[in-house]
């Protein structure tokens, strides 16, 4: 599944690979940004996130407006050395044709960050709706990268349209 080198700047890939949490910003029907913390997964070409149907408002927003941003900002949630910050802006697509097991294709990427997912999965009968999940597939079109996490300085901007 992993494609290396990927299409993103290597500094951004490094953060995505390390991140246990990222902030996904979507745009609601009134044009307002809404941000959700989620675990980001990256296969070298696209950024993936999954969302339980229990917390599906973000999916509705994405289906109405696919423009999203994924931010990597937290020194604790993004344990990369050296620390940096980045934002990946792109278009998202919700994959929801097999909510029960379609998302399991991402398990190798998820397991690498959160090994306990296998233990949870064995007990999915106990919280069945949590494991009915849609996949959010994000095609990056631009990245912003702040070396050292220093946002008081301008970011390195990389345009990816056509890559």
């Amino acid at each position: 599944m992993l494609e290396r080198p990927g299409i993103l700047p290597s500094d951004v890939e490094r953060l995505l690979d390390a991140a246990l949490v990222a902030e996904l910003t979507v745009v609601d029907a009134s044009g307002r940004p809404i941000t959700y913390p989620l675990i980001p997964l990256y296969d070298g070409a696209k950024v993936f996130m999954t969302s339980a149907v229990l917390f599906s408002k973000k999916l509705r927003h994405i289906k109405a407006n696919p423009k999203v941003a994924v931010a990597l900002t937290d020194p604790v949630g993004v344990p990369a050395e050296p620390f940096a910050r980045a934002t990946v802006i792109g278009n998202a697509h919700v994959i929801e044709d097999d909510l029960h097991s379609g998302w399991e294709e991402l398990l190798p990427l998820w397991r690498a960050k959160e090994p306990v997912i296998d233990a949870f999965l064995k007990k999915r009968f106990g919280i069945p709706l949590f494991f009915e999940r849609s996949v959010i597939e994000i095609t990056p079109r631009r990245t912003l990268f702040w070396e050292g996490g220093r946002t008081d300085r301008g970011p390195v901007v990389t345009e990816l349209v056509g890559v």
Binding site: L20, T25, R32, V53, P79
Partner: protein, 438 residues
Amino acid sequence: MALAPIAAVERARTYTHAIVSWVDDDGYPTTVAGDFTTDAAAAAVEVGPIDSASLPPGGREVCVTFSHIRPQPGMGYDERRYVNLWGDAIVTGSTLRVVATRTAGWDEGDVPFMEYAERSVPEAHAYFDAVGGAPRLSAWWKFFLATRLPFLTATIVPIALGGAIAAYDDSFSLGFWLLALLAGCAVHLGLNIANDIFDDLSGADAANTTPTPFSGGSRVIQYGLVTRRQMIGLCGCFYAIAIGLGFVLAAARGWNLLWIGGAGLVLSLVYSMPPFQLVSRGLGEPVTALGFGPVMVLGTYFVCAQRWSWDAVYASVPVAILIALVLYVNEIPDRIGDEKAGKRTIPVRLAPARVVAIYAAAAITAFALVPLGVVLGIMPAWTLVALVAAPLAFKAYIGIRDFYEMPYALMGPMQTNIGVHLVTGLLLVAGYVVATLV
């Protein structure tokens, strides 16, 4: 979950950084993070210094997010919490000020993840409705959940005890005992399903946002895994099996068995069926005690020995009290949802301190009856081995007392309390078996 703007800003103070999001001129959201200060009285936050070219235009609506997790190496993370607040951007040089007009957030320290998920079940159904899907689970797991199969220990213990007492009286019959076990299990599974059906109809399970593996029902109807109609069908099947086996046993061992079998059946139905709903009247415990105590023990004894026994009735009382305490403790985390649905269980009616005191008194009584039975010559001395389980009851009591208000922390004590019934019952059985053999 919505927060008051000032409260949201006060919470934001505990985070390490702020994440500012807005919709750029090309319609894409963009994000930048930075240090921040708060002005709680004004419900405002100031983020900066930020490269001025990276800030949103003044007047643009922004979402400011504060997010925290604690990674657990090799496991994942805990301490999940976040705050979102919205307001218009006020840009001064390299600083962004936002006065919160709208907020949202979640802190698993306040609302445990399981409760958060439970509150979101309607959102899941709305999504399924929109995409035309339904949650899936294998038939086995649906059956396992719908019947609440692990709770069969409540039936296995008294039926084992009835058989052991019959053996002690030289009257054990393995074949008929097995049939009695099947009949008892069928009634119990039918009862569990009936209880879910009636709690669904009354709204008690839907109102319960803090279910645990031991309380709050199976949730299969609420989650959309099984329809109410399917549950009614399954319930009917189990009762039909139980009634059929009851007649077979009565024909083979004596028609008097129908009295006690009928009593068991009636108790299982009036427990939650309208208009009786004895569990809603604070009578769930005595009904449970009768059904899973004297009725099952004496019924099994009769199946094996073809006669009644007051000794069997006496020996069933400790087990009856302990199974009633299983229900009693499991009602503690359910009490808020139960009260909303008009289900007036004992923990709904009484203050926590009194509920805990009654638990202690009942558990002490259950264990005291064993040596008393031995002294009175009703039970063999070997049954004193059941007292070994008494410290477990003490452990359960401490847990119930300390975690009364914490549904998920109560899961440990609830499990221990189920263990008290199981271990004590099995030790009583062992006592009778050893007394029979020596």
